[in-house]
């Protein structure tokens, strides 16, 4: 009943822009509003046979696979220790898992370039100060993989955290009494039960890394490593822009992601992952014993690599009067440091306005996105609506389309729509909701799969209309997942760069654009670093919002 209207809504948000792109992929010219021609062709797909594309694709796959696995390991580890064990400083470790979200991957990459470049990287400079040769080269495949993993691990963390915090310990206890050691229990019960979350976040992360341009640009290109995102970027940046070919690449990616989504659906459909049942969910934490301290140390290592070191790098480049530093000793010279860049950064009208826009847009987009994702997740995994398969696929499509390409699709869509949203903040909000549909959907869907439907059905039998039952039983049970999803979408919206680039105007400029512009300027590294730090601070403060919601009283949860 609710399936079809919802499919229509999501389809409208997602399919119309995607439709433009498919059209572009098969057109000779870019089909813009006002000049939509039907000069169809398949020539655009020839680009896939372009020399070097295969090598680039190979590199991208290698990087994406390694980084996805690493991100899953990091995120899974943090999620497990915070949701299920008695690790020391639990709430701080939770923050550790979350915080890299505040650092957009391109800022993280730049920070790591500052830290780890083979020539002038701070780490190498430090080593040289100590009389050793600088051993670190971030401009390498391992370097790119590390940075990608560091900044995508929070996705895995957030999604798995909600899955793991809802697990019924009886299921694990059963493994314990049947001879499974802690590790084997985790491997054969805990992790498999979190499979929807693992596969879901793995799929997300893989595709996002595969398409990530910023990190490739900053870290891979200087090292002479070609990647597919750079290739798509080149296509889009060619003059005149080769949008049709980029769209063709996007169509191939969409096909791949649809296939992967279907495969994932098949894997998950065979089994059930219900962990919260009406026979009770007794909150119980695992004792780490001797591992308590090592686990904390591991989390701290991640914290240092993803947050502390990069922020210190940025801080140093924000307060250093000269971007060049021959040795750490030179910092003690008079006039080497000052903080004017911060003052410049935060006092400007433009900054204040952009910050305001960003916060407003992000909050609304995260809210809208969470609601939509919940509805879609619910319809797909709890109802027998005919449309549910289609709904899931459609929800995942934005993931497949590189943001640059999707941005154009959204631009076309909202230019031709006879509703006056273009040029306002609304168009950004709508765009963000569409772009982030996959992230929201996966986050919630995996949680829905883990609650026993009897719980909700019993409320219905006790006289509650379905919606009431959802709000009384299902939503509160999914509290952790819903608030994590909200947080995820909030952060993503704060960071979203490519889509607003096509949709913003001076009045609706967002912080991410302001910062990107500063970094893009070249030479404004000081101000850019300062602004980036302030930006991280804002995200940090914002992130308290959903955590307040999530941390409310309750018998179980984070």
């Amino acid at each position: 009943m609710v399936g079809l209207p919802l499919l229509a809504a999501v389809g409208f948000l997602v399919l119309v822009p995607a439709g433009f792109i498919v059209l572009a992929a098969f057109s000779e010219k870019v089909p813009r509003p006002g000049s939509i021609g039907l000069d169809l062709t398949v020539d655009n797909f020839r680009v896939l046979a372009d020399a070097g594309v295969l090598e680039a694709a190979g590199n991208s796959v290698l990087i994406a696979v390694c980084a996805t696995v690493s991100a899953l390991v990091i995120g899974g580890f943090l999620a497990f220790v915070t949701a299920r064990t008695d690790i020391r400083c639990k709430s701080f470790v939770f923050l550790i898992g979350l915080m890299p979200m505040f650092l957009p991957s391109y800022v993280g990459a730049l920070a790591w370039a500052i830290l780890g470049s083979p020539g002038a990287g701070l780490i190498n400079t430090g080593f040289r100060d100590l009389g050793m040769t600088g051993p670190v080269d971030i401009y390498s495949v391992p370097g790119v993989v590390m940075v990608m993993a560091l900044y995508y691990a929070p996705y895995a963390f957030l999604m798995m955290h909600s899955a793991m915090s809802m697990m019924n310990p009886d299921l694990e206890d059963a493994a314990g009494t049947h001879g499974g050691s802690t590790w084997r229990t985790v491997r054969s019960v805990t992790l498999p039960l979190a499979l929807p979350a693992i596969l879901g976040s793995g799929l997300l992360i893989f595709v996002l890394i595969f398409e990530n341009f910023a990190v490739s640009q900053v870290l891979a290109s200087p090292g002479g490593i070609n990647t597919l995102p750079t290739f798509v970027y080149t296509l889009m940046n060619a003059t005149p822009s080769r949008g049709n070919e980029a769209a063709a690449v996007a169509v191939v990616l969409v096909a791949a992601v649809v296939a992967v989504t279907l495969a994932q659906r098949r894997v998950l459909a065979k089994r059930s992952f219900t962990t919260v049942s009406g026979k009770g969910v007794k909150p119980r934490t695992l004792r780490l014993g001797r591992l308590r301290t090592p686990a904390l140390l591991a989390a701290l290592l991640y914290f240092v690599l993803s947050i502390v070191a990069p922020l210190l790098g940025l801080l140093l480049s924000a307060v250093r009067t000269s971007p060049y530093m021959s040795s750490f000793g030179s910092l003690t010279e008079p006039g080497a440091l000052n903080i004017t860049s911060f003052v410049t950064a935060v006092t400007s009208d433009a900054f204040v306005k952009a910050a305001g826009n960003s916060v407003l847009v992000s909050l609304l987009a995260a809210l809208g996105g969470t609601v939509l994702a919940f509805l879609a997740g619910y319809v797909v995994y709890r109802t027998k609506a005919v449309a549910r398969g289609a709904l899931e696929t459609v929800s995942m499509i934005p993931l497949a389309i590189p943001a640059v390409v999707l941005g154009i699709g959204l631009l076309w869509t909202w230019l031709v729509m006879p509703v006056p949203v273009y040029g306002t903040l609304w168009v950004l909000i709508i765009g963000f909701v569409a772009v982030q549909m996959p992230q929201g959907f996966r986050g919630i869907a995996s949680a829905i799969q883990s609650t026993d439907r009897d719980l909700e059905d019993s409320a219905v039998l006790l006289g509650a209309p379905r919606l009431r039952a959802i709000s009384f039983v299902t939503l509160p049970l999914l509290r952790v997942a819903v608030s994590s999803t909200f947080l995820l979408l909030l952060m993503l919206s704060m960071r979203e760069l490519t889509v607003p680039l096509f949709l913003y105007t001076t009045d609706t400029e967002t912080l991410s654009i302001a910062i990107y512009d500063q970094f893009e300027n070249g030479g404004a590294l000081r101000e850019a670093s300062a602004t980036a730090l302030v930006y991280c601070l804002i995200m940090f403060v914002l992130s308290y919002l959903p955590r307040r919601l999530g941390a409310k009283k309750g018998a179980h949860g984070a």
Partner: protein, 376 residues
């Protein structure tokens, strides 16, 4: 309200869990659903409650047709006013005990104070008033089950479905709640359907018993009817009649020849010409120690009486359940009072006897009805 189920069919994917099920529960009646594990009891309840969408058939509650596959009609679950105690309890782990029980009253718009009072009353009935403010996931298994029960009782539904609501409770509590349930049911004229594996419970609660086998109802009758005249040998076996033997008509119409034993039993019932089974309730098998001075078995020709040896005897409180193998090789199970002198132990020599009236003659299974033209 009267519940009427016609031609019900439910499939989980390819697996057909309920096939062509007909069942009527009269207004105010309590029907107990008996059947072996996996035969489709919970599924039937879920259909009546509106939680599953059957593939065929109609369901009506009172005068309303709440489901009709042919006309695509399906009243949503929350408007059926059907209460259900789930086999999986479905207690909400994130709420307190009281919040769980108050919920249906809140849905009915009962004012706060009143709601609390009534909920506490019900909780008191199930013996949990002192845990009202405890989180519902911090309870023992039996306590959770009682919360689930209380929640449905608080709702005052027009039809109450109970899926093994007392399975985790101790005998005494169970008996108390059983009496309480029966009282409420009779007092409020509540139509109810009950799944239990406990025969005592079935007998105590049922106006009628519906025996379910393989997704359909094979016998429906009062407890005494079902107990005294099971419709088939498989039903008899299910009801605890352990002595079931394949038989054919012997030299007389009332002499059953046990297939594979070379033994015959006198019976007071007619034996059909096609194959049948004879069933003897363990309570109807009399066991006497051979060296006892008890009254000898009646020696008239119609009495079945065999010498045998005790294989195993289990003390059951007020009675003893023992397995005896007759010298002719027939294994018989018997439940009898402890002998006044001597002990019924492994190896003891005994005489077993069964009155012909207690030798039941039944078909193997209840024949599948020709599929009625429901789909037509």
């Amino acid at each position: 309200m009267k519940v009427d189920v016609r031609g019900l069919e439910l499939a989980y994917g390819d697996f057909v869990a309920i096939r062509n099920l007909d069942l009527t529960i009269e207004d105010g009646e309590s029907v107990v659903l008996l059947g072996q594990s996996g035969c489709g009891k919970s599924s039937t309840m879920r259909c009546i409650a509106g939680l599953e969408t059957p593939t065929r058939g109609t369901i009506s509650i009172g005068d309303t047709t709440v489901f009709d596959a042919r006309h695509g009609r399906a009243v949503p679950a929350y408007r059926r006013n059907v209460g259900m105690v789930f086999q999986s309890y479905a207690v909400w782990p994130h709420k307190t005990v009281l919040e769980n029980v108050e919920f249906p009253l809140r849905m009915q718009g009962v004012a706060k104070g009143d709601r609390r009072r009534r909920s506490l009353e019900v909780l008191d009935t199930v013996g949990l008033a002192h845990l009202a403010d405890r989180g519902a996931s911090m309870l023992s298994g039996g306590q959770m089950q009682r919360v689930a029960l209380a929640r449905s009782m608080a709702m005052s539904p027009s039809v109450l479905l109970l899926d093994e609501p007392l399975s985790n409770l101790d005998a005494r509590l169970r008996e108390d709640l059983r009496v309480e349930l029966r009282r409420i049911q009779v007092e409020q004229g509540l139509t109810s359907m009950y799944v239990t594996h406990d025969q005592q419970e079935a007998l105590a609660l049922a106006d009628r018993i519906a025996v379910m086998q393989d997704g359909r109802i094979t016998q429906l009758g009062t407890p005494e009817e079902i107990y005294k005249r099971p419709a088939s040998a498989s039903i008899a076996a299910f009801l605890g009649v352990t002595n079931v033997f394949e038989a054919k008509r012997g030299t007389s119409e009332r002499l059953a020849e046990l297939v594979g034993h070379g033994l015959s039993l006198h019976t007071a019932h007619d034996i059909p010409s096609r194959s049948a089974s004879v069933c003897i309730r363990p309570e109807d098998v009399r066991v006497d120690l051979v060296d006892t001075a008890g009254p000898a078995p009646a020696a008239d020709g119609s009495e079945n009486s065999f010498a045998g040896t005790v294989d195993v005897a289990v003390f059951q409180g007020s009675s003893i359940r023992c397995k005896v193998t007759t010298d002719g090789g027939l294994g018989l199970e018997a439940v009898c009072a402890p002998p006044v002198t001597g002990r019924l132990d492994h190896g003891a020599r005994v005489t077993v006897s069964v009155a012909p009236g207690n030798v039941m003659v039944l078909p193997e299974t209840v024949p599948e009805p020709a599929v009625t033209a429901v789909a037509a």
